[in-house]
Structure formats: C-alpha cells, structure tokens
C-alpha cells in the first residue's frame, strides 16, 4: 500500500509539476475575481470565502483526468487490479496521492490568497479547517468520476460535467462554514456536517470507483 | 369560450407554448429515431437473408 502511494506521489510530482499547476490555477482564478467584480474591498470580503472554495474546487479538477489514465495506458491498472491489495484500497491510495499533491497545497495557499480578497480575520481558521475537511472528499469524488471516464478522448470535459454536481453539497457546507466564521458566527454546525459528508464520501466513493474500474478492465 | 387571462396572458401562453414545444420535440425525436432504426434493421436483415 505504501509502495503504491509513494509511486503515485513520485509520478504526480514528476509529470510536469502537477502540484504546481493546480496551485497556479488557484492563484489565477482568485486573481481574476477582482477584475470581474471590481476592487471594492467590502464586496470582496463578503464573497471571499465562497470564491476561495469555488476556486479550490476547480483547481482540484485539473489533475483528475490523469488519475487512472497513465496506469490504464501502460497496463499497470490491470496489475493493480490483480494484486492482493483490494481495488477499493488502491483507489483510496490514489485519491490520497491526489489530495496530497493538489488539495494540501491549496489548503496552505488559501489563507494567503484570502488576504488579497480582504477576508475578515475571523474567517481564516475556519477557512483552513473547512478546506482540510472538504478537499479529501473532492479527491475521492474526483477519483470516482475519473474511473468512469478512463480512456475517453476529451474525457476531462465529461469528467467535469459528471463531478461538479457531486461537489455541490461539499461546496455548500464548506463555503458556509468559512462565511459564517468570517461573519463572526458559530461555524461548528456547518463544519460537522461537512466532516460527516467527507467521511461518508471517503467510505463510499472507493467502492463505486472500484466497481467502475472492474467494468473498464473487463 | 377562451378564458380571460388578463395581465398574465403572456406568462401563461408562453408557459404552455414552451412546454408543448419541448414535448413535441421529444416525441418527434423518439418516433423518428424509432422509424430510422427499424428501417436500418429491416435492411440489414434483408441483406442477411439474401446471403
């Protein structure tokens, strides 16, 4: 299991800076917002939590279509499927690798970008917490959607169409947790729902993805 | 016999119009595709019988 994780991490970090790309995209999207809605700091402060969440979510999408692609192309996916490690476990490991190279950097970058959007001081802690609780679910759901689109040309576009509706509950509770905190109110209820949602997703997504992969490999 | 729709006439008529339009397109697509596949299948079966 650890071998698979290390291998995936090495691959992700080697292949043209996958981690850097997501981060750069995150930066650019957040930077576009003031150009789109104007530099009024009060307005930016209001939308900051939601914008950061949406931008993080979109940045997560970028590396998803490659999640199973490389392995499917060179036959390693078959080998992984035949190994003693259950396919569900392999999916979880791949989602973990994705999170470590995409989600984790976003969690670190978000508060920094929050400064540019004038995020109120009360919001930073819960922004980080909500992203920490929510981004694993984004990786897990992303892995599921990736399992459906393995090997398709233009799979990335279809993958986005499939996964973005699935992201909505996580987005609603994650952004709410961050906004409520920014307004000085109690963010714990939203956070707890978010955490529960993430745990449920992490538990179920690998099974759905593994079922899809088995069908792909048949 | 036409009901007095008053100020909501545009709203109501466009609702009915849009809905009937969408459903008409849906029905057309299903019926035409059915006919097309049926013809293609009959042609393929005829070719098979001829061999």
């Amino acid at each position: 299991m650890r071998a698979l994780l290390l291998r995936d991490l090495r691959l992700a970090l080697r292949s043209g800076g996958g981690a850097g790309l997501g981060l750069a995209f995150f930066l650019i999207v957040v930077m576009l917002i003031p150009f789109g809605i104007g530099p009024d700091t009060a307005l930016l402060a209001r939308v900051a939590p939601g914008v950061l969440w949406v931008a993080a979510l979109l940045a997560c999408l970028l590396s998803l279509d490659r999640l199973f692609q490389a392995d499917a192309e060179d036959g390693s996916l078959d080998i992984i499927a035949l190994s003693p490690l259950p396919l569900e476990g392999a999916v979880l490991i791949k989602a973990l690798a994705h999170w470590m190279t995409t989600g984790l950097p976003l969690i670190v970058a978000a508060p920094v970008l929050g400064i540019t959007l004038n995020l109120p001081s009360g919001g930073y802690g819960w922004l980080i917490a909500s992203l920490a609780a929510g981004t694993p679910a984004l990786s897990a759901l992303g892995a599921f959607a990736a399992s459906l689109t393995v090997g398709l040309r233009r799979g990335g576009l279809l993958l986005s169409l499939l996964v973005l509706p699935l992201y909505i509950p996580t987005l609603i509770f994650g952004a709410r947790c961050a906004s409520v905190a920014a307004n000085g109110q109690d963010a714990l209820p939203a956070f707890l729902i978010l955490a529960g949602l993430s745990l449920g997703t992490l538990a179920l997504a690998p099974f759905a993805a593994a079922a899809a992969l088995r069908s792909q490999l048949r | 016999m036409f009901p007095e729709l008053g100020k909501y006439a545009v709203t109501i008529l466009s609702s009915y119009g849009a809905a009937i339009g969408i459903l008409a397109v849906l029905i057309a697509v299903y019926v035409l595709r059915n006919a097309r596949i049926r013809r293609a299948l009959a042609a393929a079966e005829a070719r098979k019988a001829a061999r």
Binding site: F144, L148, T149, L152, G155, L158, L161, L162, L164, P165, L166, I168, P169, I172, F173, R176, I193, L197, A208, A211, A212, S215, Q216, R218 | M1, F2, P3, E4, L5, G6, K7, Y8, A9, T11, I12, S14, S15, Y16, A18, A19, I22, L23, V25, L26, I27, V29, Y30, V31, R33, N34, I37, R38, A40, L41, A44, E45, R47, K48
Partner: protein, 241 residues
C-alpha cells in the same frame, strides 16, 4: 408468470407492441383532456389569478422529472444485479424524457415566477434542486454517448445513476439548508393536496395521468428502439467480419 419474464427482449417486444396503441390512446385522452379542462374550464385562483393554469403543466412535469430519476435508479440497480439488458436499455430510454420533463418544469417555473416573485430566476431550493437534477441528467446522457461498448456503457451509467441518486437526495437537503426559499409550500407539492381545492385538483390529476401515460409511451418506444439498435449493431458487426 414471474415479472422477470418481461426481461426477455423478445417477450418485451411482443408485449410492448401490444399495449402501445392503448397507451397512446390513454395519453392523448388524459393529457388532452386534463390540459383542456384545466385551461378552458377552471376559474382563477385567489393568490395566483389566472396563472394558476400553469399548474397543469408545471406540477405533472416536476412530478415526473423526479419519478423518472427514481425509475432510472431502480432499473440501473436491476442491471447491475441481474444483468437484464431490457432494464439497462429502459434506463437509457427514460433519461431524455426525464431531462425534458425537468426542463419543462424549470421553464414553466421560471415563467410563472416572473409575475409572482418579480424575477425570472431565484435560487429557491425547489428550482435549484431541479437545476442540479437537470445537470445530472445531462451527465448521464453524455456518459452513455461517450462509451462505445454497450455493456460497459450500461455498467458505468448504472453506477453513475446510483451515485447520482444519492447525491440528488443529499443536494436537496444541502440546498434547503443553503436557502430557505420562496417556493410555494405544501399546497402545490406533489404529496400534500389538502390545500388545493377540488376544482383545480381534478383536472390536475387528469393531467398527471396524461403526463405519466406520455412517459410510458415514449419509454416503450425508446426501449424498443434501443433493443432493435442493439440487434442492428450486432448484425453490422457480423457483416463487417
């Protein structure tokens, strides 16, 4: 005779061919009857004025949009467990109908909302949930279209339907949490009829039956087309060899 006998494609074709004409008659009579009754022969309502006439389209289409999604959930599950092709193809045939119904519900909802709430669109929980459901339908259809191999397409779209159904329910609650909403409460929901008086209720029921019959007609036509399409594909592949 067990229900599963219908899973046999040949049997399904025979049976569906026999009942189709009757269903078409039922659809024409009930849909036509319901809409004509509702549009021409009912009074205006207190709260909505003459716009109440929109319920004869908006409510049945919304009702069907949700129920078709549920039907796709069930037929997808049947495919995954029992591998009956008719079931998988029925789900495939049902999806465009569901998408169209969702679109009708959204459009009539928005048009109705304009005079009632003053704007063309509001992010109220009901409308938002329907918008999400519409996107789910599109994704499902896109996945069927993208995959060449029929059985693999059936597998993957079925898994998507199952996961999608779960998330559709989750989204409903999340969206409720996200916005309390202006949508009419119980009086126009599909389950609580007590608040709508008989004079509107009766043509509404007839319209719902009409929409449902239309769905069944199109579902049978669509499934028959898919079954024939499968056979055609097999024959074309044979010819190519």
């Amino acid at each position: 005779m067990s229900f599963w006998e219908f899973a046999n494609p040949a049997r399904f074709m025979r049976l569906s061919g026999r009942i189709l004409p009757w269903l078409v008659a039922l659809a024409v009579l009930s849909l036509g009857g319901g809409l004509i009754w509702g549009f021409f022969l009912t009074p205006d309502a207190d709260q909505f004025g003459s716009t109440v006439k929109i319920i004869y389209i908006h409510v049945p289409s919304a009702f069907l949009a949700i129920n078709i999604y549920f039907m796709m959930f069930v037929t997808s599950l049947i495919w995954l467990i029992r591998r009956h092709h008719v079931s998988a193809l029925a789900a495939k045939a049902a999806a465009p109908i569901g998408a169209a119904m969702t679109l009708v519900a959204l459009v009539t909802g928005a048009l109705w909302g304009q005079p009632m709430w003053g704007t063309w669109w509001v992010w109220d929980p009901r409308l938002t949930s329907f918008l999400i459901m519409f996107v789910f339908y599109l994704g499902y259809l896109a996945l069927w279209a993208a995959i060449e191999e029929p059985d693999k397409a059936a597998d993957l779209t079925s898994i998507l339907a199952l996961v999608g159904s779960l998330f559709a329910v989750l989204s409903r609650y999340a969206v409720n949490f996200w916005n309390q909403g202006l949508h009419q409460g119980a009086s126009l929901s599909m389950d609580a009829e007590e608040n709508v008086s008989d004079v509107f209720w009766q043509p509404l029921v007839l319209s719902i039956i009409g929409f449902f019959a239309l769905f069944l007609v199109l579902l049978l036509i669509g499934t028959r087309t898919e079954i024939r399409s499968r056979r055609l594909r097999a024959m074309l592949m044979q010819e190519a060899n």
